[in-house]
């Protein structure tokens, strides 16, 4: 099956093309096709995963050669553009994650999007997204990953702006695309550096070049940070995180699929994929870790005070992504310094479990929104009774993300905490973030599903969602618990499958486990105290730490900051340059034209009075002469003939005369001409008389 892995994305593309061009009008058929294709992709992904696992088991710890095929798009002596497929453990894991969430979301959307104006189009876009995402995951070189990187950006843009008639939605789509592009600038610079120095984009060849010392150290740092810039954009890391919360304007299944589980982890995937480069430059790896930590902390603080259910989840996503990035960065930093760290395994493992529970959280939140038609948690409450399946799965996912023991999140988070253990600052903040995560997630749970309904009308209308929606919820709920069991410490599992360099053998570290889980449980307890038992007044705390509260509520004023610092100046610059263009450059052109005209004007004056004066003078002369000579123009051919004969005679006579006297003769000739003119005039008058007589 692995050899046919390219079919996984191509099937999705087929689905997209079919729907857009042929099946758009038949909603049932198009959604059915899309769902079928995604389920097929899921089956194939599982198959590929199993085959890959078998390969690893069969190798008994020896190095496993990944499956790779390459196809050239262009041929140059150096640096080719190529596309290809690479299937190794990381790819297989990502395939499973993407296809699982993809299939679930597609099925879920059957219910969620029912009755929408653009039902078929939605499924087409989802198929296109899955195509791009699978392509991204399967890529075997940096060029190809960039292609699909941009394509997922496009689908993200299309899907965020799916309700394009809403201004906020289209704004959010644009913001997402452009913010991502900013990150991509760095990505491109990184790619160009890699291409220039390594002469290839192929992962393996690039990594060989890195370990072979082809790159000067400072170039490697820049290249690594450049690549990471791409990840910053796509994974919504500080300082480019601003697009992700706004991206919640898209339909909720989209938020679940793209902006929680799959696309946003592409950045994490990129860092994991290019880990050799980060390992090669400790500085860059440290930047990665630091950015991850800052993002994670900042997002967690913002999530504490948000009231929009999806926004809380979005900031939670940002925070968790920061977690993964941090783990990977720490791994790179440690490995560069010769320490074998669980960071790589922890980051990728958390990527997987996070996909399950965050996808679930969003889908469940979508189900809630579907029921109560609001995003504001202050208008919810006590919904658990009304929608038990949604509620319980949401609670399971929350437990998982908070790191409640034996859930998936517990195992992965545990490893991240372990990875940060060597670095006190990181360790402290990691725990703090874990605490805050648990707190805001359960704040959300308690306010949504427990307590008394705050808006009776909405509560009354609430109902459980249809099976197409709850089915995926339950499926993901199961995964959110057992998905982490593949990485139980001390047992052979995930860490021997997805690794970088040497496999990391996990061991049970009870102290670590205790600290991590108690922090999580502590957060839940505090949330319970504040929002369910009301033992501590949230308002009072907000009053006490008002500046901090405002900072959190206003998302650290990033949007306003960017607006002032970047957007306005650029727009102003654009307008200024336009004016510059119209006034200065064009002014120059027009000025030249004006000057030419002015010069022409001057010349015309000169012409009129000086040259024309002379010309007119001679003209006057000529015209007066002509007045006389015009009588030669009798209009009668015979007269002309006669004249010709006379002239021949005259000229012949001249020819025979001595040379000196020609002037005299010419004058005579002119006089004769005038004379003839007068004769002619007389003739004309005569004729005129005759004619008038005739008419009379």
């Amino acid at each position: 099956m692995t050899e046919f892995a390219y079919l996984i994305p191509l099937l999705q593309l087929l689905s997209f093309v079919m729907i857009i061009f042929f099946l758009r009008w038949k909603e049932k058929v198009s959604s059915g096709l899309a769902v079928t294709m995604s389920v097929a992709a899921w089956v194939m992904s599982v198959w590929v995963l199993i085959e890959t696992i078998c390969k690893y088991i069969g190798a008994h710890g020896a190095h496993v050669e990944p499956f790779e095929i390459t196809y050239y798009l262009t041929v140059f002596p150096k640096i080719n553009l190529e596309i290809g497929i690479l299937v190794d453990a990381l790819t297989a894991m990502m395939l499973l994650v993407v296809s699982t969430i993809g299939a679930c979301v597609q099925i879920y959307s059957l219910g969620y999007m029912r009755g929408d104006k653009y039902f078929s189009r939605f499924f087409a876009y989802l198929s296109l997204f899955l195509f791009s995402m699978f392509g991204l995951v399967l890529a075997n070189n940096f060029f190809m990953i960039f292609i699909f990187w941009e394509l997922v950006g496009l689908t993200s843009y299309l899907l965020i702006g799916f309700y394009f008639e809403k201004k906020s939605a289209s704004d959010a789509g644009k913001k997402a695309f452009i913010t991502n592009r900013i990150g991509d600038l760095g990505f491109i610079i990184g790619l160009l550096l890699i291409g220039t120095y390594a002469g290839t984009f192929n992962y393996r060849e690039v990594f060989d070049a890195v370990s072979g010392g082809v790159f000067p150290p400072e170039v490697l740092v820049v290249a690594a940070i450049g690549l990471f810039c791409g990840a910053i954009g796509k994974s919504a890391q500080f300082p480019l995180h601003v697009w992700l919360p706004d991206a919640m304007e898209g339909p909720t299944p989209v938020s679940a699929l793209i902006h929680a589980a799959t696309m946003v982890v592409a950045g994490v995937y990129l860092v994991a994929r290019g880990m050799d480069i980060f390992v090669g430059s400790a500085d860059a790896a440290f930047v990665v870790a630091a950015i991850g930590l800052i993002t994670s902390f900042m997002a967690a603080t913002i999530a504490l005070t948000q009231n929009d259910i999806k926004r809380v989840l979005a900031y939670s996503t940002v925070s968790q992504l920061g977690y993964m990035i941090m783990a990977l960065g720490l791994y790179g930093y440690d490995t560069a310094n010769g320490i074998h760290s669980p960071g790589y395994y922890a980051g990728t493992f958390h990527l997987m479990t996070h996909a399950f529970f965050k996808g679930l959280l969003f889908l469940a939140a979508g189900s809630v929104i579907h029921a109560v038609h609001t995003n504001d948690i202050r208008e919810m409450g006590g919904l658990l009774k009304k929608m038990p399946k949604t509620g319980w799965t949401f609670l399971v996912a929350s437990a998982s993300i908070s790191g409640v023991p034996l859930t998936a999140g517990f195992f992965s988070k545990d490893e991240i905490v372990a990875a940060a253990a060597h670095h006190p600052v990181f360790y402290f903040f990691t725990l703090l973030i874990a605490f805050m995560t648990a707190f805001y997630m359960w704040r959300l749970c308690f306010m949504t599903f427990f307590g008394k309904p705050r808006d009776a009308e909405k509560f009354d209308h609430a109902h459980e969602s249809p099976a197409t929606m709850t089915g995926p919820l339950v499926f993901l709920g199961v995964l959110a618990v057992i998905g982490g069991w593949v990485g139980i410490p001390g047992m052979t599992g995930f860490s021997e499958f997805v690794f970088h360099g040497e496999p990391y053998h996990t061991h049970v570290d009870w102290v670590n486990i205790l600290i991590a889980s108690s922090v999580g449980l502590g957060g839940i307890y505090l949330a319970w105290l504040m929002y369910l038992k009301k033992a501590i007044s949230a308002d009072k705390i907000a009053q006490t730490f008002r500046p901090l509260y405002l900072m959190s509520l206003n998302k650290w004023w990033f949007d306003e900051l960017y607006d002032i610092v970047f957007i306005r100046p650029i727009l102003t610059l654009g307008r200024f340059l336009w004016t510059f263009d119209a006034r200065v450059i064009d002014g120059l052109v027009n000025g030249v034209a004006w000057f030419t005209l002015f010069w022409a004007e001057m010349k015309q004056l000169f012409d009129t009075y000086v040259i024309d004066g002379a010309v007119n003078g001679s003209g006057w002369l000529v015209s007066n002469l002509g007045q006389a000579l015009r009588y030669l123009q009798t209009g009668r051919v015979q007269f002309y003939t006669l004249f010709i004969v006379l002239m021949i005679i005259v000229l012949a006579t001249f020819r025979m005369l001595p040379t000196g006297t020609w002037l005299l003769w010419t004058l005579t000739f002119l006089c004769a001409a005038l004379l003839l003119g007068l004769i002619g005039r007389r003739t004309v008058t005569n004729t005129a008389h005759t004619e008038s007589e005739k008419q009379a």
């Binding site: 015979q638 006669l642 004969v645 006379l646 012949a652």
Partner: protein
């Protein structure tokens, strides 16, 4: 090859006929008579051609000029001027000046001819070879080989003239 100085009696007769009838052509009042004299002139010219070893040309002259052109003239006359009735002044007021000018011109031309053909003037090299005997054959061959392009052009011109004449003379369908 005729000696330049030796001009036969035929020439004198012919030239007299030509000049007299030419003067008639330009001076007679009745345009119809003019046409008759024109035919006479043209026939005379044909005779001159014969004396100049241009038999084919003579034939063409008779056929085209005498046969076609002159007849055409006669037709034109009959179509336009009501000859029988009209008796108008055949020359205009310029006649006096014209006579003078033409006299001078003729004298000039004759003078030129005189000085250039004078023996030893050396303006023209007198030919030593006689004209080819088989004139007509040679003309035919040369027309179709060396002069084929002018020949074709002339034929197109003729065609165009014919069409033009038809178009011009066509009565407006009013």
């Amino acid at each position: 090859m005729t000696d330049p100085s030796e001009v036969g009696i035929v020439f004198w007769v012919l030239s007299t006929v030509i000049l007299v009838s030419a003067v008639m052509v330009v001076s007679l009042r009745n345009i119809f008579h003019c046409a008759i004299f024109l035919i006479l002139t043209l026939t005379g010219v044909a005779g001159i051609f014969v004396t100049l070893n241009a038999e084919f040309l003579a034939a063409a002259q008779v056929l085209i000029y005498v046969g076609a052109v002159a007849t055409l003239m006669v037709f034109g006359i009959m179509l336009t001027s009501d000859i029988a009735s009209r008796r108008i002044e055949m020359t205009n007021q310029k006649a006096g000046v014209a006579v003078l000018a033409c006299m001078v011109f003729a004298l000039g031309v004759l003078f030129l001819i005189k000085i250039t053909t004078k023996a030893g003037a050396g303006v023209w090299q007198t030919a030593t070879e006689p004209l080819p005997a088989d004139n007509v054959l040679t003309i035919g061959k040369q027309l179709m080989t060396e002069f084929v392009l002018p020949f074709e052009v002339v034929s197109v011109l003729l065609l165009a003239a014919m069409i033009g004449a038809i178009v011009l003379a066509r009565r407006e369908a009013s």
